[in-house]
């Protein structure tokens, strides 16, 4: 259902944009890129409370740095995906068919997201950021095990 919410959410984002007099393009961009970015981020975040001694450990600091670095990658991909989506929607090519349903719009959102992601995910920078995120999680796990 979580992913069904994405479908509904994207529709709602555009719905608001389609309302007469609503020119909140920045809001639309922020919302759609956030939806992209969430899907590009692996679901591996550990739960560490601020009061937990682990939160001040070198391993946690490393993890936060790695997460930030990886987040810059996913943010750039999400923005690229949104740019592709905007360009496709705004295409002036008469051969480009009109988008007449939310489903078609959703499919385009996915197509643009995958294209942007594939382009970046093959890069050295992405692979290194991802590997560092994994390495930092491993160190965090080690720290957790040592403290038990």
């Amino acid at each position: 259902m979580e992913f069904g919410n994405d479908y509904a959410g994207i529709a709602a984002d555009f719905w608001r944009k389609l309302e007469p007099g609503n020119g909140d393009f920045d809001g639309l961009r922020a919302s759609l890129t956030a939806r992209y970015q969430r899907l590009f981020t692996p679901p591996v975040a550990p739960a560490v409370a601020a009061a937990d001694p682990l939160a001040s450990s070198a391993a946690f600091v490393r993890y936060q740095r790695a997460l930030k670095r990886f987040g810059r990658q996913t943010e750039a991909i999400a923005l690229d995906a949104f740019r592709r989506l905007s360009a496709s929607i705004g295409a002036t090519d008469p051969a480009a068919p009109p988008i007449t349903s939310l489903r078609e719009l959703h499919e385009l959102w996915i197509e643009c997201g995958e294209a942007a992601y594939s382009n970046a995910a093959h890069s050295n920078e992405y692979a290194e950021a991802q590997a560092e995120l994994l390495a930092s999680l491993v160190e965090l796990r080690r720290e957790q095990l040592l403290r038990r």
């Binding site: 899907l39 349903s101 995958e114 594939s118 093959h122 590997a131 491993v138």
Partner: protein, 353 residues
């Protein structure tokens, strides 16, 4: 100028219907029994530690061919080969009179973290093959390796060429350093030694998250939004659930074997570049002289065709056949096209040898 031509009233109706269909599908999921692991009658005929060898009951007159042993990957579970009656490579092979065996590696736990790649390739795979050879009184068997299991089968055939009569490699990575191989690009950066030193075994969930991350939108949001399309179709929903169960049924990986597989194959590409040693013995693909059938999928996002094709010319076999399947990594087993095409291709190829 925009391509957006969505009629607001039509969109409202579309969204309402989508929500209704999703709610209906979710209700129906709770009423569906997706069944057990696999669907064809079989019996356990051999067991060593957690490795089990299954033999399937024949469904057609014996074709008179040597038995075929399916060596599945260590990642994911082998019941993908026999997911349901109308999506089963194994049923297709049985229907053509083949005597089918399947190796199930089980679910490694902490006690297995020191199992090495050697244990899988030589000891377990070797024992299963020996059991079949002994049962049938034959010197060699037909071996069908799937994905990582194909790589393992190639290694086994190079080390023990006398045991393998014919080798079928399905969606098998051979050259791990081709440009299209996204998984390899990621894995090459991973400090696998440190990971195994800390974790012991590799959690299946981590592998699964990695596989889904290869195409995160198509493999998650697009797939799940598509549930609305099959609401009300109980059979389609049951198919969906079976597939989901398989996707998320990812065994943990024995740490030592995983470390070696990642380092030797993904990071150092030793099968192609040379220098591969398993169990203290050099693995020379040129020692594989049996006939080879290499089946790969044109749209495979996990093992791109470029990773499989280099098998041609790598071995000492002078009987090499490539078969290109128009589909993806999973479609090879479960797509409608594959159901007749692949068992027929494999059986006909074996009959000629």
């Amino acid at each position: 100028m925009t391509r957006l031509a969505i009629d607001p009233s039509g969109a409202a109706a579309e969204m309402g219907e989508f929500c209704q269909r999703m709610a209906r599908a979710v209700r129906q999921f709770g009423e569906i029994d997706a069944g057990r692991e696999g669907c064809s009658p079989r019996a356990e005929v051999y067991r060593q530690d957690k490795t089990v060898l299954w033999r399937y009951e024949p469904s057609s007159p014996d074709a008179g061919l040597p038995p075929i042993v399916i060596c599945y990957a260590l990642v994911n579970r082998p019941y993908m080969m026999d997911l349901q009656p109308d999506r089963s490579l194994i049923r297709g092979l049985l229907a053509r009179g083949l005597d089918v065996y399947l190796i199930d590696w089980g679910y490694p736990d902490e006690g297995d973290s020191y199992l090495a790649f050697d244990d899988y390739v030589n000891r377990y795979l070797g024992s299963c093959i020996d059991h079949v050879r002994s049962t049938h009184g034959v010197e060699s068997v037909n071996l069908l390796g799937v994905c990582q299991g194909g790589t393992m089968s190639l290694c086994h055939a190079a080390l023990h060429p006398e045991r393998v009569r014919n080798l079928v490699a399905m969606v098998t990575p051979v050259d791990f350093h081709t440009d299209e191989n996204l998984l390899s690009k990621w894995v090459r950066k991973v400090d696998v030694d440190r990971m195994i030193d800390v974790l012991g075994n590799v959690p299946g969930e981590l592998l699964n998250a990695t596989f889904l991350a290869l195409m995160p939108l198509k493999l998650t949001v697009q797939k799940y939004a598509g549930i609305a399309d099959i609401a009300g179709d109980r059979e389609a929903l049951a198919n969906f659930l079976r597939m989901e169960r398989w996707i998320h049924d990812s065994p943990d990986q024995a740490g030592t074997a995983f470390r070696q597989f990642i380092r030797w194959f993904f990071q150092e590409n030793r099968l192609v570049r040379g220098g591969l040693e398993i169990g203290g013995r050099r693995v020379d693909p040129r020692r594989i002289t049996c006939p080879l059938l290499n089946i790969y999928a044109t749209q495979d996002h996990l093992v791109p065709p470029s990773a499989s094709r280099p098998l041609a010319g790598l071995t000492g076999s002078c009987d090499y056949t490539a078969f290109e399947f128009d589909g993806g990594h999973i479609g090879v087993y479960v797509s409608k096209t594959a159901q007749d095409l692949l068992p027929r291709t494999i059986a006909q190829w074996l009959e000629k040898r």
